[in-house]
Symmetry: C2
Subunit: 194 residues, 2 copies
DNA sequence: TGTTACCGAATGAACGTTCAATTAGAAGAT
DNA sequence: ATCTTCTAATTGAACGTTCATTCGGTAACA
């Protein structure tokens, strides 16, 4: 398929990207290994050189996507800036990542609600845990946020951003920068210390 | 299986309830028709007397569950009460429905992110649309809520409640009534007209 | 010459669906 | 009440397909 991509990233990443693209269209179980092989331009057997099974392929794809999400979220983060400004920057980055990678958005949403996530709860991106979780924990410890169960924060934030991204993607009209700020204000006004 | 339930509700509902219970454990794909048949105490062929295919079984199960969710949410709603009080009542009802029906919660979350929802976007509960959507539209028109895209409201609300319900279910310690109110306050503070 | 990467046809298990046969139940006739 | 007839409900073995995975072999490369 995409020879350039294949050349620079190797067949392993080519397979991961093909799987991501196909799952967007057909879902986990509408995507047979033969289809992935064809789309990636490799033989079916080759996939098993890099992944033990379809199941581990999905598990590793999740880490791969989540790593990329974590790095996108953290772009231009500056610990010297006010916490609220950093929060808004991270949220904007997250929104833009979803808009720029709709297949990743769809995959992540499917994954977290699938038996994979339930059966392998420890399978997650180390980068995401180290960096993004740390950022939120800092906000909790320093009382920028309401005094609530910290595990409520992330889903509250994510739910709104994902909803907004899905709306923009399903229509073909984009939210303005001001709209995005307003959306993040919904989140911030909900979770900030009142 | 459950003879009492079967007797009063008929085999169609028995099959629906078995499917719901099994999907919670094994997911869409991991739940073959033969397993549903066994769990429901009917022959495989009998399922096809009530449903055209596995696909339509899932589609009808979604309507069935969403109808029950809608009715649970609307319990004790009183149009004479202040809008904010009605809102809190509906949210508490929704949270309690998730807690009391974890299999429904898991199914709904899986469904909305599956190819079913993408391929059949018009397949939804009429009760839910008539009653719950109407309630939110009223809040938008009468300026109880921020002036934002109305489709952002529902996912924002749902995301937080679902997150809270999942936390309570995954641990085995319950949120207190005050905790639940606090959670709903997060939602309300985010979306209310400031 | 040994090792790694890659191929793709073959395999075998799993699964959704069908269907010919059986039973249950309702309606009607006597 | 009893028998007859017709339809709907139910069964589960069998079918055909799909799909993940295997494996014997070939090429690349060190």
């Amino acid at each position: 398929m995409n020879v350039q991509l294949e050349d620079i990233s190797g067949k392993r990443e080519t397979v991961l990207n093909s799987t991501l693209a196909l799952i967007k269209e057909h879902g986990f179980h509408g995507t047979p290994m033969s289809m992935i092989a064809k789309h990636a331009g490799v033989a079916a057997g080759t996939i098993y050189h890099y992944f033990d099974s379809k199941e581990t392929l999905i598990l590793e794809l999740y880490i791969y996507v989540k790593d990329r999400l974590a790095m996108a979220i953290l772009a231009n983060d500056d610990a010297a800036m006010p916490y609220k400004d950093r929060f808004f920057n991270l949220m904007i980055n997250q929104f833009n990542f979803y808009i720029g990678n709709p297949d990743a958005l769809l995959f992540l949403e499917q994954y977290v609600n699938s038996p994979y996530a339930k059966n392998y709860p420890l399978n997650d991106s180390q980068i995401f845990i180290d960096k993004v979780h740390t950022f939120f924990n800092y906000g909790i410890e320093n009382a920028y946020f309401r005094n609530i169960d910290p595990r409520l924060l992330a889903p509250t934030v994510k739910g709104t951003l994902v909803a907004a991204a899905n709306i923009q993607l399903s229509q073909h009209t984009a939210f303005s920068d001001e709209d995005v700020i307003e959306i993040i204000n919904i989140v911030w006004d909900g979770i900030k210390r009142q």
